[in-house]
Structures are given as C-alpha cells and as structure tokens.
C-alpha cells in the first residue's frame, strides 16, 4: 500500500467499488450454496473457541468493574442490570468484531491471497467464472451469519461469566442480580447488537476478500495483505461501531 494521499483514496475507492459489486452480484443465480456452507463452517470453526475463551474474561472484567463501582455508589441492586447492559450493548459486538476480523477475516484473506498469487483467480476468470460471485459473495454471507451467531454466543457467555464473578466471587446476591436484569436493558439492545454484528461480519469479509484478491508479490505479498486487512478492518469496525451506537441512541428511546 502506498502512503500517498491519492493512493489511499484509490484503495478506498476500489474497496468501495468491490463492496458495490458484491451487493450487485448478491441476487445472481445459481447461488453458491455449497461454498456458502463450507465457508460458514470454516469461519465458525476458526472463531467459536477463541470467542468463547475471550468472552469469559471479558464478562468477568465488566462484572468486577461494575461490582466495585456499584458498591462504591451504594447501588448494588443495579449490578446485574449494569453488567447485562454493558455486555449486551458494547462488549459483545466489540468481541465479535475482534474475532471475526482477527480470526475469520485473516483466514479468508490468506486463503484468497494464496489463490491469487498462484494464478488460481486469474485461471478462474479465464474459465469464465466471476470470483466475486463464486468466492466473495458466499464468504461475505457466511461471515455475516457467523458474526450474528457469535454475537449471541458472546452475549450468553459474557452474561454467564458476569453472573459467576459477581455472585460467586464478589458475594453478590443471586436474586437481586437476576431480578435487575431487565431494569435497564431492553430487547432492542439485543437487536441493535445483532445488526451491528451483521454489519461487522460483512465489512470484515469484504475487506479481507479485497485485500486477498489484490495481493501481489509472492508469499510476502500475502502476508502483507493479511496484516493490512486486519488493521483496516479494525479501524473500520470501531468507527462503524461508534456511528451505529450514536444512531441507536437517537433512534431508540431509552429506559429509565
């Protein structure tokens, strides 16, 4: 990637153009069901375990912070409410974003990059097959599906972890913790988090595919592409997360 401002603009343009191509190619038949299922399984298999392992300490950290904070403020009865809210609204989309970009996106980018430098992508185009339709669309959809499911997994594991740390380790009262679950959080929080995850999955897969398909310069080029794809995806995901959160607070009325 060049450091000149026009170079950066050009890359953004190409990336956006590819995103549009993906959208345009989405309804084209025949849908690559086999590739989609394979990719969904593949992305899930590389992300599920790390996600579960990351979300336990993540839930625990939130529970510890909120546990001590609520004690200082004398609002122990709100410990459960606050930790559920934090996990559901912010922690789970962020963990999903990290994992889908760090584990899923890199795997997609490395796979496509290796194919690109071995001329497989060119060969495919010469055989009259559009790699966007055949390879990228199934990967984007698979990544979106898995991101949504991962977000659910992170929410459950995070809340359970929070419960365990608050109730068992900080001597919180189980009843109060559970009873306050729904005082602050509402169902639309979950929907918003799932929509975020859906968008994150799409962005991660599109950036990874773009970087993979434009890899050049041998094995080192693939390594560079993977590295850049993670960095770009992280930046995009955190910006997107901020924008979507801001919009969410404007659109959906809050409780309390």
């Amino acid at each position: 990637m060049s450091l000149s401002p026009t170079g950066a603009l050009r890359h953004s343009g190409h990336l956006f153009a590819m995103a549009l191509d993906v959208v345009r190619t989405l309804p084209r038949r025949p849908f690559q069901t086999r590739e989609f299922i394979q990719q969904a399984w593949f992305v899930a298999s590389v992300t599920i375990l790390p996600t579960a392992l990351v979300s336990i300490p993540f839930g625990a950290v939130i529970a510890l912070q909120i546990g001590s904070l609520t004690r200082q403020l004398g609002a122990q009865s709100f410990a459960g409410a606050a930790s559920v809210l934090a996990v559901l609204r912010e922690a789970s989309p962020i963990v999903t974003a990290l994992l889908i970009a760090g584990a899923g996106g890199t795997a997609i980018c490395a796979d496509l990059g290796a194919r690109k430098i071995r001329d497989e992508i060119d060969a495919m185009q010469v055989l009259g097959i559009d790699p966007i339709h055949r390879l990228v669309v199934p990967r984007v959809l698979a990544s979106m599906l898995v991101a949504v499911l991962l977000n659910g997994l992170v929410s459950v594991v995070g809340v359970a972890g929070g419960y365990f740390f608050n109730v068992v380790l900080q001597n919180g009262t189980p009843g109060a913790y559970l009873a306050s679950f729904t005082t602050l959080a509402q169902l639309s929080d979950l929907w918003a988090a799932e929509i975020k995850a859906l968008v994150f999955g799409a962005i991660a897969a599109i950036v990874a595919s773009y970087k993979g398909l434009t890899a050049k310069g041998g094995p080192k080029g693939v390594g560079d592409a993977v590295n850049q794809s993670v960095v770009i995806t992280f930046m995009l995901l955190f910006v997107t997360n901020f924008v979507m959160t801001a919009v969410y607070f404007q659109v959906v009325p809050q409780r309390g």
């Binding site: 290796a114 194919r115 071995r118 001329d119 497989e120 060119d122 060969a123 495919m124 185009q125 010469v126 055989l127 009259g128 097959i129 559009d130 055949r134």
Partner: protein
Amino acid sequence: MGVEICVEGLTKSFGHQVIWQDVSLTLPAGEVSVLLGPSGTGKSVFLKTLVGLLKPERGSITIQGRDLTRLREHELYEVRKLFGVLFQDGALFGSMNLYDNIAFPLREHTRKSESEIRRIVLEKMDMVGLIGAEGKLPGEISGGMRKRAGLARALVLDPEIILFDEPDSGLDPVRVAYLNQLIVDLNAQIDATFLIVTHDIASARQVPDNIGLLFRRELVMFGPRERLLASEEPVVRQFLNGRMQGPIGMAEEKDAAQVEQELAQLTEAPVVREPTPRLLPGPGIVRPPRWQAIARREAELHRREGADA
C-alpha cells in the same frame, strides 16, 4: 476451426512504466504462433491482456468482430469461454484433486450429467497422459504433471483459442520435447488457434507457423517462422542463437556503439545456419489438410537438403 485474433496498436503501461507499445499482429485462425522475448519484456502481461485480465491503455483486440478492450465485464466473461489458457504453473485449484480441477469448468458452465462429465474428463486426461492420477492433489505432483493437468483443464470446454504461458519453463529437455509434441498433436486434432509465450529457442524453432519477438517495449517482428529464422535483424539473430553479442544486454539494452563493435567482431566468426526441421503431428494422429500441406512442404525441403549434401 479456430478463430482469428487481430491486435492493433496495443499499448500497456503500469504507472509511468511502459511495458510495450503499439503492438500490432494477427494470429491467423487455426495456426500455431510463438511469442518470444527476453525475460521481463511483458510476454505474460501480453497474454493476460489478450484474455482481458488486464486493460491496455490504447489499441484494440478484435475477436469475432468484437473488441475485447471495450467489452463490459459480463460480455468479457462470455468471450472468455472461447479461450483456454495454460498458466505458468498450471494454476490448478489447490483444494481440489486433479479430476475435480478438470471437471470444474464443465460443472460450472454446462448442465452435463456426472457420467458425461466423467467421460470428457477422462478423455482429456488421456490426451495429456494423466490417466491414473485423478485423485492426486496439485500439491502432490510434479511441475510437469501440473502443467499437463492445467492443459487438460484448459481443453475441456473445447476452446477456439489456446494460450500457453511458458509451457517449457521448469521442465527438463525430454519433458519439453514431449510437451511440444503434445502441442503439435493437439493443434492437428482440435484445430484451435494457438499462441505460445516462451523464451525457449528450440521450441520456437520447431513448433510454430509464426514467430513474434518482443524487445525494447516493442514487437520487433512478427511473421512466418521461415522468415524470422532467416532474418538478418540483429535482435532476432541474437535471440535465436542465444549469444551475448548483440543489442540485448544482461539487465537492459546496450548502447549502440558497443553493439556495433560486438557485431563487427562477430562477422569474422563463421555463421552456421541450418534449417530446423518442423515438428509434425505423431503417427497416430489424423492430419487435417493444413498439416498435410505442411508435411509435404517439410518433406520437399529435406529432399532438397539431401540433394545439396
């Protein structure tokens, strides 16, 4: 019958670097052409431009009355079905075994039944001598086998034009000879238009109807094999004889004075120039009229040579 490719005024550059400019040539339908050139003169780029993988800055590529450089993406995918391309390392799909690789275009583009696909795939694998290796993965086989498998895959859709990107690179001389024979046999059998990009002089002397030479960002010459082999053009002579004296240097071209001096020294040495016999289709192949005419001409030449000696 193959189709004609008409290239006119083609120019390609990456950024400010011009790869080649104003390349004009016509690949006659059904004939074998070879494009020669020192390493790094953009031969592979030329192939990729021909199939529309790279967009040229100027010029046109006309196939069946359509200009490839002006087609929209989906029209391009249609035209590409006329092409079969053998990439340098075969470009097989690493995740599939050879059988699935070769069956891939059929499964994607046709509604043929599995049994029919099996028949076609085995036929093409037999053609390139790969029977028995159906279940192997591309990573498990030698470079020569990968090339032949890539060729079989390029053949399954019965292309009208076949492009070869350095079919002889990385192969031993015996395998190169076999591959050249295979190319000639194929041309007699399927009658497609062939373009071979290479820097192997021996193949270039034996195989083609036409030879072209890319050098110094230009197509120096393109014409019938006999004309190029007999050419007095310094670049052509240097390249076909694989010697150091001449305009082609190690890294880039040399300056004019040095070239002149080298060539002056060279004229003192005797120039041996025997005509190279042309490679003909194997005995088991039914020769179409075009190849019968070539064989007759070759036999004539040899008789005359024999009489001279």
